[in-house]
Amino acid sequence: MESCNCIEPQWPPDDLLMKYQYISDFFIALAYFSIPLELIYFVKKSAVFPYRWVLVQFGAFIVLCGATHLINLWTFTVHSRTVASVMTTAKVLTAAVSCITALMLVHIIPDLLSVKTRELFLKNKAAELDREMGLIRTQEETGRHVRMLTHEIRSTLDRHTILKTTLVELDRTLALEECALWMPTRTGLELQLSYTLRQQNPVGYTVPIHHPVINQVFSSNRAVKISPNCPVARLRPAGKYMPGEVVAVRVPLLHLSNFHINDWPELSTKRYALMVLMLPSDSARQWHVHELELVEVVADQVAVALSHAAILEESMRARDLLMDQNVALDLARREAETAIRARNDFLAVMNHEMRTPMHAIIALSSLLQETELTPEQRLMVETVLKSSNLLATLINDVLDLSRLEDGSLQLDLGTFNLYAVFREVLNLIKPIASVKKLHVSLNLAPDLPEYAVGDEKRLMQTILNIVGNAVKFSKEGSISITAFVAKLDTLRDSKAPEFLPVLSDNHFYLRVQVKDSGSGINPPDIPKLFTKFAQNQSTGTRNSGGSGLGLAICKRFVNLMEGHIWIESEGLGKGCTAILIVKLGMPERVNESKLPYMPKMPTNHGQTAFPGLKVLVMDENGVSRMVTKGLLLHLGCDVTMVGSSDECLRLVSHEHKVVFMDICVPGIDSYGITIRIHEKFTKRHERPLLVALTGNTDKVTKENCMRAGMDGLILKPVSLDKMRSVLTDLLEHRVFFEAI
């Protein structure tokens, strides 16, 4: 017997069980070897696997297990000790590794599990975010709709378009079944169906406004869900089982109509319209919050748009009104202008036409007075004269006043003797005053300058008027006239806010006070005194004989002289004082002021009368030419002589100021020359003055000259003095036609 160290299996190897075990072990080993390979393969493929070390461990464990089972295959038959020891080693190792792995897994498996939990958590989160995204998108969509709606609504300023667009857009956004707008009626007690979406022309379907639901809607600025059975919501044809939800919102309106709301003490003064929106029936849709918000926003926008439209309407109306008024004003202005023009034309004509016959009457009546008359006739003539004088004064006054009012009157300034003016006034008034037994005294201040610069005639007229009034309205007593230079403090108390006296070196303010002890004037009547045509009716019978214009004219004159005039009176029966202040100029030099101002005659004769005045003389007759030349040379002119019309046209230039033409020669066509000269000099200031010299004393010649465009006509023979005065007149007035 050999003793081998082989170990025998316990069971015979031919046993069937053994065989099955053998096969199983083989397959187990195979599997055990392939699992780690698969693991390695897949882990290599995947990017992330944090537990490499675990894998290695596990791999080792599996490999060893596989090895064990593989080695087990040899133990089914008789096997040597070596195999047995290998087997034992393998098992021991396997045991060790598996224990270690088991211990490791205790740590690892919770981790792996937690990964799973996290994954679940993240998935939940993702789902939530998705939901929220959906919500935001919806909101944004809503916002976009609102913007678009607003844009649509605000793109028009027409009321109806706004409201219709609103309804249409709301329908588009929210997919409504019906949308309606109820506007308050004129009376404000009912809501009238004004606009609907589906029905084209809503017939006047009204609902009283004091419905609790409506009140509820009006009292809040939010969209309120209302019952479909509410009167405002009963718009759809009946027969639906499940009417969709209804929402109503208030739309504030501008306070346009002006009905009285005093029977509504409980409501605010704001008026609202009602917008009702209905979801489609049988749709189980519900009003979402964002949709309600959309509706509220739209309602506000509509309110704003409506108010804009209303404002626009108002402003258009106002503009139309203004345009009408403008047209009317323009017409009135044109009419006024026409009236003024007509009046001016009338005055211009009347000025001459009225005065001429007046003068004739006055002149002839005065002449008549000089002749032999019976006492009766004399009386009649005197009356005629007095009346016509009055009339003449009246005409002059009216014409003066209108000239004054036009502003076309200008003062004739000149140096005059101030003392003489007062003396003259006194002389004129003394006879009347003595008849009435009134005492007149004149008091001139010593510092009053003897000479002054101003409009003498009008100043005298004014003072005379005032003194005349004083005499007229005093039945007894005395009149005192004082005149002095007004100092600044006396100027200030002139009771006129617009009178601002300015003192300067070459001007002084003359103050004249006329005090009478007559019937006085009621203080309230004083302002009326200076208005024209206003007679003082309240003071009984007055043989004033005045036109009511005197003081008005005086005031205008005084204003022109930059002064002020007013009357003070303490009342009826207490007399009155008229005060006038005018601005007069100081004369420059005393000796100059002593000379009266005579513009006509220049003070020096001879050569220097018209120094260097360039003149052209055209005369065919040599003698007469020479005489004219001599005349003009003597006056200092620079004379050019021509003997024919061609020469005249050739030599005439804009330097020549006057052209003398002899027109009584038959050969020369003086009128033709005139026309040619007019053509040659188109500018008026360049053209020389054309004067005709003629011996013809008939009107036809004069008319022809005027018509041809000549500026003057002189009859021959011309004396030196005549030529001098003609030239003076001509140069001053640019025209001189001798009276034929």
């Binding site: 003698v623 007469s624 005349l631 030196l720």
Partner: protein, 153 residues
């Protein structure tokens, strides 16, 4: 001095007589006024011009009126017109008066009347020429004696 005074007195008397007899009128006085230091011979110049003019015009008129075939009254009228103008410019009153009559004859185309007027004009003209020449001689004498021409108003 006595000589000057005498001459001046003579001058004044002569001037006055001329005016009185109607040879000269106011216009001549005006002309005399125009004479001053700038133009000392103004009157003499004007008078010479007048005489030349006169002779020329009278010759024209004579020739025109001598035409046997047909008198050109227009031309005569023009000349008379000129003469009238000249005479009135210088102040020759009598000449001017004849011219006025002459013109009416011209318009009437009265040859006889024109001829008569022409004769008259010639006569008046020569008279005036003599008188004026005397006057101017007096003037020159006064000036030569050292005096000044007195102004006749």
């Amino acid at each position: 001095m006595d000589v000057v005074n005498q001459l001046q007195r003579q001058f004044i008397d002569y001037s006055a007589s001329l005016h009185r007899e109607g040879f000269l009128d106011d216009q001549f006085t005006q002309l005399q006024k125009l004479q001053d230091d700038n133009s000392p011979d103004f009157v003499v110049e004007v008078a010479s011009l007048f005489f030349e003019d006169c002779e020329k015009l009278i010759n024209n008129m004579a020739r025109a009126l001598e035409q046997q075939q047909g008198v050109d009254f227009k031309q005569v009228d023009a000349s008379v017109h000129q003469l009238k103008g000249s005479s009135s410019s210088i102040g020759a009153m009598r000449v001017k008066d004849v011219c006025i009559a002459f013109r009416s004859f011209c318009e009437a185309q009265n040859r006889e009347g024109c001829l008569r007027c022409l004769q008259q004009v010639t006569h008046e003209y020569s008279l005036l020429k003599n008188k004026l020449q005397t006057l101017f001689r007096l003037q020159q004498q006064i000036l030569a004696a050292g005096g000044s021409i007195p102004v006749v108003e």
